[in-house]
């Protein structure tokens, strides 16, 4: 069942169309990743959904909102760079936001403590937010988005600013939250999307260029692919492989060459032969299935 429906959403800034007509809906209880390169319009889209920006055109409908209900009751939002009142402690900020969202004082405090524990910064509850590290701010930001148990939480690049450990922890946190609410989060890190999300929306140049579940995407873009890893630069080998009769297309990335082929069995034999004959400094030979990154490159490259 869909929770929110977006149709014909457009946004212009001083005549430039940044979002060029989005149509999609989000299903209840799902975790959806909004994926796209920098400048694709991810943040703008989330800001419009959260009500911080007005769409130039288009409609956003919350299926569950009663007539006249403030949609802000239903959503929690974490901006890319969360800011707090730096003279407040983490606990004070959460309780404050909780009371603004309509919780009674006592309940707001209990809920704040519960969330501080959930996001793992309970120890810092009485520290001023000015003294929080980037990771702690991100966690407090997630906590404030959850305070009023919203139906939908939207997170703008929740893990991009974190170190690997923090990233791991926040992703695990999201994994746990999936049971409670619908999550929409934007990211340009593909593996994060692949890991936590059920569905993916690819955003590029202000439009959705591809969408679906991971399996759907794989099926749609399935292509036999062989990855070759060389010692040193792979440019010279790439150009050779590009002209090979079995090759469909080639992608070069430093010391890695990815070759999309028609027939994997034939290609494997042929390439291994070439490599042996010409004595190429090969480090790794990999027959791989399509990753999200490949889909991303393919879709964005169009």
């Amino acid at each position: 069942m869909s929770l929110i429906q977006i149709s014909g959403l457009k946004k212009q800034f001083q005549g430039t169309e940044v979002i060029k007509g989005l149509d999609f809906s989000l299903d209840k209880g799902k975790c959806i990743a909004l994926l796209g390169p920098n400048g694709a319009g991810k943040t703008t889209t989330l800001r419009m959904l959260s009500g911080l920006m007005n769409p130039t055109e288009g409609k956003i409908t919350f299926t569950e909102a009663k007539k006249g209900e403030d949609i802000r009751d239903l959503i929690g939002y974490l901006p890319q760079f969360p800011v707090f009142y730096d003279w407040m402690t983490g606990l004070e900020f959460l309780s404050y936001v909780g009371r603004l969202a309509g919780l009674p004082a006592k309940e707001a405090k209990d809920r704040s403590l519960e969330l501080l524990k959930l996001v793992g910064i309970l120890d810092a509850k009485n520290r001023k937010t000015a003294k929080y590290s980037g990771g702690m701010k991100q966690r407090l930001g997630i906590a404030q988005a959850l305070i009023h148990r919203p139906k939908l939480i939207m997170l703008d690049e929740p893990v991009s600013a974190l170190d690997p450990i923090g990233r791991r922890e926040v992703l695990d946190l999201l994994e746990g939250l999936k049971k409670e609410t619908t999550i929409l989060f934007s990211t340009h890190i593909l593996s994060d999307a692949e890991e936590v999300c059920d569905e993916i929306l690819f955003l590029h140049n202000g439009g959705i260029v591809e969408s679906g579940t991971m399996t759907e995407l794989r099926e749609r873009h399935q292509q036999a692919k062989i990855d070759l890893f060389f010692r040193g630069k792979a440019v010279q080998y790439a150009s050779f492989l590009e002209n090979h009769e079995l090759t469909q297309s080639v992608m070069l990335e430093g010391s890695r060459v990815s070759i999309f082929v028609k027939d994997i069995a034939l290609a494997r034999r042929a390439f291994l032969q070439v490599i042996a004959e010409q004595n190429w400094p090969l480090e790794k030979f990999e027959v791989s299935s399509m990753t999200l990154e490949d889909v991303f490159m393919k879709v964005v490259g169009k």
Partner: protein
């Protein structure tokens, strides 16, 4: 209402944490009390500083208590206004600039409450500071000169307070509609100066100008009674405040929080 009180409580707590509740009243006391003290001790001060030729006789007429109070009030409409503008200019603009306003307003917070609670917080600080400061001025004037009747003190306090509130509301309005706190402060000060100047030069035509409330306050002190124009001027001041606040909410709501 509950939400409004939560917002107001946050404002007062913030002013406590950043010591506005301490330094603003103290500055208001110093500004006002300076007048009776210097007026009273001027001959001694001149004496002590010296530098006057031998045998020079200085005749400084002792000012009346009303004159001393009026010059004290003059401090509030000049330097006091500066302080009000400086402490208020950022309350909305700075929060929007830092992004914290967006954090708060994605929660179901009404825009009216957000703006009016901020206004009420600043107004509370201003009225309390002005009361303490002016009370101290009145007390020292009574001690060193003559006691001005307390009801006259209250009347002038109220008239001047209303005018200061108009300026404060102009500042809140600028803070809500302009992007930078500095710009908001500058425009508010300019507006306050222009309104005062125009009202006093064209006082015959602008009897109902809220800025004239200060003149009517002064008339009370020099025992001329309450002018007939006071009530309309007061009502106009309240109307200005209400209109400016409504406009602030309107403009703030129209503006996109995330730029």
């Amino acid at each position: 209402m509950n939400q409004w009180l939560t917002l107001l409580q946050k404002e007062t707590l913030e002013m406590w944490r950043n010591f506005k509740w301490i330094w603003v009243p103290i500055t208001f006391i110093l500004l006002g009390v300076k007048e009776p003290l210097t007026a009273y001790y001027m001959p001694q001060i001149l004496d002590a500083v010296g530098g006057l030729p031998e045998g020079a006789v200085i005749q400084i007429p002792t000012p009346s208590a009303a004159e001393v109070l009026i010059s004290g009030l003059g401090q509030y409409t000049t330097l006091g206004v500066l302080i009000i503008v400086l402490t208020t200019m950022g309350i909305i603009a700075a929060e929007r600039k830092s992004g914290v306003a967006a954090m708060i307003l994605v929660k179901p917070v009404s825009f009216q409450s957000f703006i009016t609670a901020k206004w009420a917080g600043s107004a509370l600080l201003m009225w309390v500071s002005f009361f303490i400061g002016y009370l101290a001025t009145w007390y020292y004037t009574g001690l060193l000169f003559e006691w001005v009747p307390f009801d006259q003190f209250l009347q002038t306090f109220f008239f001047y307070g209303l005018w200061l509130t108009v300026i404060l509301t102009i500042t809140v309005f600028c803070s809500a509609s302009l992007a930078s706190p500095g710009m908001a402060g500058f425009i508010s000060l300019a507006a306050a100066i222009v309104i005062s100047l125009v009202s006093s030069t064209l006082s015959n035509w602008l009897e109902w100008s809220p800025a004239q409330l200060t003149t009517y306050g002064n008339e009370v002190l020099i025992n001329q009674g309450i002018s007939d124009q006071t009530l309309p001027a007061g009502i106009l001041a309240v109307i200005c405040i209400i209109i400016l606040l409504s406009l602030s909410v309107f403009i703030f709501r129209k503006k996109e929080l995330a730029a």
